[in-house]
């Protein structure tokens, strides 16, 4: 084997606190060979980002590197002087950050930001800088006319490509990509990855790719390292990992998510033996529209977020509402939960024909029947109150229990969602629990009112991959036990397929296709649905690169 491009030996990073230092990275060693795509995968808090920030020495306080070697070009980055560190950044290693919106300066045009790197780090001057900038833009397929655009004038995918262009500016041998596609929609994510692979083929740089999404990584990485709690638990070729991996944790990561294509195989959720739905729809949406008016001093523009959406849901059903960001799916959730008022249209619960747009006050009864579970379990619980408070308030407000039974009921509710022992959890504060536990509390709160309808707005997307299925399972079980009707909102077709009976595909504020889950996946009719399914299926990369090849030949 050749000399590795980057070698990390026994890297240790501590976070200094007033108590004992926290070991964020503990004895991590790996080598990256020239030309390969090395994937580093781990869930939030695993230390994967800390490792790469230690390599660049960009860790903010209170981090301190306590041991180890990071060798690139025969130089140990951890023992050279600080001014030398600044020199090797961007020239030897560049980085593509997670959020392209934050990585770009909103008040500078994209050409200024690319030129800035060239001027600072290269010997190019004058016209040569401009030429190089245009060359970089053409590399990433952005029209030169967009040179003077500001970041907010570009779409998320284009912004991410600009960030990649900046990383490529000096042609460093190693590019670190820290979750470069996490903030993007699935179709755009696939395009960006295909672009990265194509660029690497043509330009021949090495990639260190950081992500929480092992299945994504396995599509294109050569070797994969799995991190957990600051330690490397497994490192192997992508092929071997795909085969299952040796470590339990790796297996858990692989097996934790269902796929959106092919026959149903993994992650079977509890489904009722034979689904018996009521004959009367529990919820009927008629021509629902919502537009937001952005009123300036001189003009006001109106944006139609939801356009003329109609559907019916029957008691005991699980509906998957699938759409990308900006499709209006969360707005629909808020409309049904009556957090906002529709511009026009009706929301009929249990055939109750009261026009929502006319109602001034939402009746307490409606608040009992319809509950909402939010995407972000960190934000939907109030950090100053205990779990007990969160679960007690709805019960007290709706007078569902007597004072003597309150504590007992709350403990039962907590144990229903798998938080055992309930007594211990009732006393906890949100910051004392993990993300998954917090989401369980949020679900318990929604369930405690015995609602007829629960709207779950991306309840798993902020959670670590390995616990997503457990959360989905709670919903599936509750449907059977309590005959709940559930609207499951997600951007992820695969999880919608596994939990939902019917799927509505939402695009630009309208429902473009609806069908039973299996039929929609197996035989989609609309072009947009096909794209979504393709992007969510294994092997998408080959088909995408083929498409690109065709386009070039034509």
């Amino acid at each position: 084997m050749n000399k590795p491009l980057l070698s990390i030996e026994n890297l240790c990073v501590n976070y200094i606190t007033s108590g004992r230092p926290i070991k964020a990275v503990n004895n991590v060693s790996f080598e990256i060979q020239e030309g390969e795509i090395f994937g580093l995968v781990g869930e939030s808090g695993s230390g994967k980002s800390t490792v790469i920030q230690a390599v660049l020495r960009t860790l903010p306080p209170p981090a301190v590197i306590t041991d180890g070697k990071v060798v690139i070009n025969d130089k140990d980055i951890l023992s050279i002087s600080d001014t030398e560190v600044l020199k090797y950044r961007w020239k030897e290693i560049s980085i593509v950050m997670q959020s392209a919106l934050n990585a770009l300066n909103p008040v500078l045009t994209i050409s200024e930001q690319i030129e800035d790197v060239l001027r600072e780090h290269s010997s190019l001057q004058g016209q040569a800088i401009q030429d190089r900038t245009e060359e970089l833009l053409s590399l990433i397929d952005i029209d030169i006319s967009r040179l003077d655009s500001y970041p907010h004038q570009l779409s998320g995918g284009m912004r991410q490509r600009v960030v990649i262009a900046i990383a490529l500016a000096l042609m460093p041998p190693l590019i670190i990509m820290d979750e470069p596609t996490t903030a993007l929609d699935v179709i755009v994510e696939r395009e960006i990855i295909a672009k990265i692979i194509e660029l690497r083929k043509n330009l021949g740089f090495t990639i260190l790719f950081i992500t929480h999404d092992l299945n994504l990584l396995l599509e294109f990485a050569d070797r994969v390292a799995v991190m957990k709690n600051g330690k490397l638990v497994e490192m192997d070729s992508a092929q071997n990992i795909r085969g299952g991996g040796k470590h339990d944790y790796t297996q858990k990561l692989i097996g934790s998510l269902p796929s959106a294509s092919g026959p149903r195989e993994r992650g079977m959720l509890s489904k009722p033996e034979n689904l018996s739905l009521g004959s009367q729809p529990i919820l009927e949406i008629q021509n629902l529209s919502k537009s937001f008016i952005d009123s300036g001093i001189f003009n006001s523009t109106s944006i139609d977020v939801v356009k003329n959406v109609s559907f019916q849901i029957y008691p005991g059903e699980i509906i998957g509402l699938v759409g990308e960001s900006g499709s209006g799916k969360s707005t629909i959730a808020k409309l049904i939960a009556r957090l906002i008022r529709p511009t026009s249209g009706n929301i009929l619960l249990n055939g109750n024909n009261k026009k929502v747009s006319e109602a001034q006050k939402v009746p307490l009864e409606y608040r009992k029947q319809v509950q909402l579970v939010f995407q972000d379990p960190f934000g939907s619980l109030n950090s100053v109150h205990t779990v007990f408070h969160h679960l007690a308030r709805p019960l007290v407000r709706h007078r569902l229990v007597t004072k003597q039974n309150l504590f007992q009921t709350i403990i039962e509710n907590l144990e229903t969602v798998g938080l055992k022992p309930g007594e211990a959890f009732a006393r906890k504060f949100p910051h004392e629990m993990s993300g998954g536990e917090r989401q369980r509390v949020a679900i318990a709160r929604a369930l405690s009112l015995n609602p007829d309808l629960i709207i779950a707005d991306e309840p798993t997307s902020m959670l670590d991959v390995s616990i997503r299925m457990e959360i989905l399972e709670i919903f599936a079980r509750m449907r059977i036990e309590k005959n709940l009707t559930i609207i499951f909102i997600t951007h992820d077709l695969a999880s919608a397929r596994y939990i939902a009976d019917r799927i509505f595909v939402l695009h630009n504020g309208s429902i473009v296709e609806e069908n039973s889950a299996e039929q929609l996946i197996q035989s989609p009719k609309e072009e947009y649905t096909k794209q979504l399914i393709k992007a969510a299926s294994p092997g998408w990369l080959e088909s995408l690169s083929l498409d690109n090849g065709d386009m070039k030949n034509a």
Partner: protein, 309 residues
């Protein structure tokens, strides 16, 4: 994950007790409050004419006498009573009105917000100092007038700040979650949102108190208070009237001036302390700095500290 099992309030109180800045500030304020409460028992009569006017500090009069032959130490201690009372009362009222109007405005939005914002903005653009001087000279002098004038000219800025903070909380998920579970708006504001704003409210209170003490002393110094009462402001007013500077009798104004400075300083220390307790990053960075050799710190480059035990 975290070892703490206390509520945010307990965490706060222990944090402030452990914070050196806040502790110093609290101790100083308590000394002043103690003297203000028990002062009359310990000092000579502050209004009695006891000795030759403008006699320098002596064993009989520790801080000398003023132009009327009154004991300066007694005047300083007794003077703190009304000054601190008006200062803290203004602080409380400003925060209360600010939270009420700013909170309602930010939470409900729409027409209510349009109207209340207008009200806030009108009070913001009104020139505070001239208004203060006019009102103070027109109304009958006294602590109530002073408090009223200071609150009237000082509440708007606080309301503005609290309104914007409320608007960001209003759009948070935990508030939406409370609405969906049927909670009443007023309860959401008081029970769910206000505790989250505690640090803002506390530092607003301290800021408003410092402002009130300063402005009040200023008004009284100009002769716009009740000059027959003994306060820090009137102390300075009389010192100036008796031409203390020309006669070189420094002891007539230095004790009062120093007291005002120390109280403001102590309040500012408490403010810093609250900031550090509620913003753990500030503490984390200090702990971090204390744990690595100073020469190792270069901005933007993570230090490497290898310990070979």
């Amino acid at each position: 994950m975290n070892q703490l099992h206390d509520s945010i309030f307990v965490r706060w109180v222990t944090g402030i007790i452990q914070n050196r800045k806040a502790k110093t500030g609290v101790v100083i304020i308590f000394i002043f409050l103690f003297l203000a409460l028990l002062g009359p028992l310990m000092t000579q009569d502050s209004t009695a004419f006891l000795s030759t006017p403008l006699s320098p500090p002596s064993s009989e009069h520790l801080l000398g006498t003023n132009g009327q032959g009154q004991d300066v130490l007694a005047q300083t201690i007794i003077g703190s009573r009304q000054t601190l009372l008006v200062g803290f009362a203004t602080g409380i009222l400003v925060v209360f009105i600010g939270a009420l109007i700013g909170g309602i405005s930010g939470y409900y939005g729409g027409k209510i917000d349009d109207f209340l914002s207008l009200l806030i903005n009108v009070f913001l653009v009104m020139p505070g100092l001239p208004l203060m001087v006019i009102l103070a000279s027109w109304l009958p002098p006294g602590p109530a007038t002073l408090t009223g004038v200071l609150v009237l000219t000082g509440w708007a800025w606080n309301a503005r700040v609290i309104r914007s903070q409320m608007m960001t909380f209003r759009s948070r998920d935990f508030v939406s979650a409370a609405i969906v579970s049927g909670e009443r708006n007023i309860r959401i504001i008081i029970v769910e949102i206000m505790p989250r704003m505690l640090s803002l409210l506390a530092s607003s209170f301290i800021g408003a108190s410092i402002y009130a003490i300063g402005a009040q002393v200023g008004l009284e110094f100009l002769g716009l208070g009740d000059v027959s009462t003994v306060t820090w402001g009137t102390n300075l007013y009389w010192a100036s009237n008796d031409m203390a500077l020309l006669t070189g009798s420094w002891w007539t104004f230095v004790p009062t001036g120093l007291s005002i400075a120390i109280v403001s300083f102590a309040l500012t220390l408490i403010n810093f302390g609250i900031d550090e307790v509620t913003n753990p990053r500030l503490i984390a960075e200090r702990v971090w700095r204390a744990n690595i050799p100073t020469k190792k710190i270069v901005n933007g480059v993570t230090p490497v500290v290898k310990s070979h035990e």
